[in-house]
């Protein structure tokens, strides 16, 4: 139901951040997240950052699989 875009925060001002997804840049709101800094990755949906995230899914899925098979 919700196309998400993982993007890197380039700069922040007044609760708005410029994010970059492989060179596509867009100003979005980061008002709902604490402690977001340039260089962080966020999950963007409909113009707002909904979560601070890690950029890649490799480590995550490895851990889930390990826990699952333990």
């Amino acid at each position: 139901m919700c196309v998400g875009l993982s993007a890197k925060v380039v700069r922040i001002q007044d609760g708005m951040a410029m994010v970059d997804a492989s060179g596509a840049k867009k100003e979005i709101s980061v008002q709902l997240l604490n402690d977001v800094e340039p260089g962080d990755y966020v999950m963007v949906h409909a113009g707002i950052a909904i979560a601070k995230i890690t950029d890649e899914d490799e480590h995550e899925t490895d851990e889930v699989m390990e826990a699952l098979l333990a």
């Binding site: 139901m1 919700c2 196309v3 998400g4 867009k26 979005i28 709101s29 008002q31 709902l32 997240l33 604490n34 999950m43 949906h45 409909a46 113009g47 707002i48 909904i50 979560a51 995230i53 890690t54 899914d57 490799e58 480590h59 995550e60 899925t61 490895d62 851990e63 889930v64 699989m65 390990e66 699952l68 098979l69």
Partner: protein
């Protein structure tokens, strides 16, 4: 995912010998990605993926589109996500209204809609606020800002919905739910854990190939153990506590109400409406809109599809009068609607 982990996920899918399992993709983006990545093809025959109600476009009732067209025909500029433009109303869709001269502007975000309103003070600008917990905060942010900044030409036509009551309404439709990752990024995972006590099993899934494979593998491994379970397979985005500021913002701006879901009927307290403080931005009240009742095509079985009771191909209209180019029902419109996905990706053959 490392190669070993991916192999083991794919191996789990390939070698599953457990009982037959109905897995519901609550989220339409999961339906879309499972098709797009070809994940369905990797599943054992006794595991059936069914598409749920988690496509805001699909569950939005016909009458809502009629309301938007009523506004457009009364001179209001409609700003909307692209998803809604081709959804059929009773007589026509927004694309047809636009062709007849209505102003319909596709935007990426409610915040962009607010910016449009500020840049066009001589127009009344209404944003079509649909979507679940993931999308609601963006609408709330926009309307809250409009309220604070006195942007009085900006309003919302609200048909937002929330998932908890839908889960309850659907709990017998599937054995395992693939929970919508981005909804739970906002709301956290407490609800999913509570559902375990009610016998409802589920996995919060992400959206990349690795994440979807992992989530499916988790569902199959746990299902074989035979007791209700919950796994968060999307921990890089979904935290147990969710995004508290977003939840607080929704609470500040909107309140629960009964809501009509296409196909599921009215589910008590499953919708949202603007609180009294924001009445000046509530399009229904602001423009004195009459009560509008929509009349969907009587042959359309989107409802049964959304409840997972029939596959799209079982609908008599599917692929004949109802195609992505000429959609009759909402499930054929949205890129992630079950019917559209089945039609576009060749259904169960692939």
């Amino acid at each position: 995912m490392s190669d070993t982990a991916r192999k083991s996920a794919a191996q789990i899918l390939a070698t599953y010998e457990g009982p037959s399992l109905r897995v519901m993709e609550v989220c339409g983006t999961h339906t879309h990605e499972n098709f797009r990545l070809g994940i369905r093809k990797l599943l054992p025959p006794q595991v059936q993926l069914i598409s749920g109600p988690g496509c805001p476009v699909c569950v939005t009732p016909t009458g809502y589109i009629d309301e938007a067209i009523w506004l457009a025909e009364h001179g209001v500029t409609i700003t909307t996500f692209g998803d809604l433009v081709r959804v059929p109303g009773t007589d026509k869709n927004l694309a047809a209204a636009r062709a007849e001269g209505a102003r319909v502007q596709v935007v990426y975000s409610p915040i962009d809609a607010l910016e449009y309103a500020k840049a066009h003070p001589d127009e009344q600008v209404c944003f079509l606020s649909v979507g679940f917990e993931t999308t609601v905060p963006a609408s709330c942010l926009a309307v809250d800002q409009a309220h604070e900044q006195g942007v009085d030409n900006f309003s919302l036509l609200v048909a937002n919905k929330t998932m908890p009551h839908a889960y309850a309404a659907l709990k017998d439709s599937a054995d395992v739910f693939l929970y919508p990752g981005h909804v739970h990024a906002i709301t956290g995972t407490k609800l999913c854990e509570d559902l375990v006590a009610q016998g409802v099993s589920g996995v919060v899934a992400g959206f990349t190939a690795k994440e979807l494979l992992t989530a499916m593998a988790a569902a199959l491994v746990k299902a074989r153990e035979g007791k209700p379970f919950f796994v968060n397979a999307y921990p890089r985005v979904v935290k147990p506590e969710g995004t508290p500021a977003a939840v607080a913002l929704i609470e500040k701006v909107m309140e629960p109400c009964d809501a009509e879901w296409r196909g599921l009927g009215v589910i008590a307290q499953s919708g949202l409406q603007l609180r009294e403080a924001y009445v000046a931005h509530d399009a229904r009240k602001k423009f004195d809109m009459p009560h509008i009742e929509g009349h969907p095509n009587p042959g359309c079985r989107c409802g049964d599809v959304l409840r997972g009771q029939i596959t799209p191909a079982s609908c008599p209209l599917f692929g004949k009068v109802c195609t992505p180019l000429h959609p009759v029902g909402a499930c054929m419109v949205s890129g992630e609607g079950a019917c559209s996905a089945f039609y576009q990706y060749g259904g169960d053959e692939l």
